[in-house]
């Protein structure tokens, strides 16, 4: 491991790499934690479980960092977030317990597949759909999930659809989060946006609140399993917080669409690397 043979090089790679991951993640609407695991495994030779533990901490840092950097939060639907977090946190604990039982090579394969899925879903990301014409769902009404958000042309009211379905999907998203040490924000946004028909921007900000709590539930189990290594996590966290804050500021200045294309191509290249590494672990040459 690079941290043993050349600690200075490790610190520089982890620091700069995490800052870049946080910045890029914020620019294209991902947490950035998803890039931390491949960076630590592929560039620094860190054990997959330890890398996932550090990634979970990075998810917490970016989630809290975004909330600390936001001037006003009129978009997040905290009722939906809290309702879905019951399922996501239970799923995260189950996933984190499973992670200890799964061979790191298989985790690398799963992770590679998830990166490709993330790239596809991010590519298909769409703008807000008008949801106010949708019917009122009885369960959503009982749970007071319907809400509104401010736009330049006034408040837009939206009605939540299929809350029970969203709850079920969130159990799975939490499990993936715990199993692979990520925030699984992309899956959460997909469930809220496509299934529950929440406006896209409301989904992303609500997801940002949720990923921190889901990651926290997994971190408890990861700590118990010895998968949280402060020496590995420290430079990652020191890098990712300012990186994510910089990305949140640059998003209004840079041409994000072109950047997103480059980022997604890079994501697929990283996914292939992870798949190769995982494949080699399962079928030794």
């Amino acid at each position: 491991m690079l941290i043993e043979t050349n600690p200075v090089a490790f610190m520089l790679i982890a620091l700069v790499g995490s800052a870049a991951a946080g910045c890029l993640g914020a620019l294209v609407g991902l947490g950035g934690g998803i890039l931390v695991t491949p960076m630590l495994v592929l560039l620094c030779g860190i054990d997959m479980h330890i890398a996932m533990g550090s990634s979970l901490l990075a998810v917490i840092a970016t989630s809290s960092g975004a909330a600390a950097g936001r001037s006003r939060d009129s978009l997040s639907n905290y009722r939906v977030g809290m309702f879905l977090e019951i399922a996501a946190t239970v799923g995260a604990i189950c996933g984190a317990l499973m992670a200890a039982l799964v061979d790191p090579a298989w985790l690398q394969l799963f992770f590679g597949c998830l990166l490709i899925l993330t790239a596809i879903l991010t590519w298909r990301q769409r703008e807000d759909a008008v949801t106010r014409t949708l019917p009122v769902n009885r369960l959503a009404k009982k749970l007071h999930l319907d809400s509104s958000y401010e736009t330049r042309s006034g408040p837009v009211r939206y009605h939540i659809q299929r809350p029970a379905g969203g709850f079920g999907v969130m159990l799975g998203a939490g499990m993936v989060s715990g199993l692979l040490g990520i925030g699984s924000g992309v899956l959460k946004v997909l469930a809220m946006d496509s299934l529950m028909r929440m406006p896209f921007r409301v989904s992303t900000t609500t997801s940002n609140f949720m990923i921190g709590l889901t990651a926290l539930a997994s971190v408890g189990v990861y700590t118990a399993q010895g998968f949280v290594d402060p020496m590995v996590a420290a430079p990652v966290l020191v890098g990712i917080v300012p990186g994510a804050m910089l990305g949140a500021r640059l998003v209004t200045v840079l041409h994000v669409r072109a950047l997103r294309t480059i980022f997604l191509v890079a994501l697929i290249a990283i996914a292939v690397q992870m798949l190769i590494k995982g494949g080699k672990g399962i079928v030794p040459s």
Partner: protein, 117 residues
């Protein structure tokens, strides 16, 4: 969330993140300048299995204790958001969501209690 609560949450998170990053940076720099190897740090980390052990190390400004404390402060931030939100629901007399927030809090605490066994 009411604007006042939002401001309070934002300020609290900013302070906590600054403290966390500061502790992590201080710990990492001390490790570097004191010439603490990864193996030595792992051995020191193995002794820090309780908050009191971390606190004792923190008072002595031990590098690994500084790192553990930094991570602990960071890890608490989502829980702080949860508590702030619960209080906000409480102020709004939204009992259903006070209960839901409490359930989420119990699940999260349970994940940390698993450590004891």
């Amino acid at each position: 969330m009411t604007p006042g609560v939002q401001r309070f949450q934002k300020r609290t998170l900013q302070i906590m993140l600054a403290v966390a990053v500061g502790l992590l940076l201080w710990g990492k720099l001390r490790m570097f300048f004191d010439g603490v190897s990864y193996e030595d740090a792992r051995a020191a980390f193995a002794t820090m299995r309780s908050p009191s052990a971390i606190l004792a190390g923190l008072i002595r400004a031990e590098p690994v204790a500084l790192l553990c404390a930094g991570i602990a402060v960071l890890v608490i931030t989502p829980f702080v958001r949860l508590v702030v939100l619960t209080v906000d629901f409480f102020v709004q007399r939204d009992w259903m969501y006070v209960a839901m927030s409490a359930v989420v809090g119990v699940i999260v605490l349970f994940s940390f209690l698993l450590r004891l066994h």
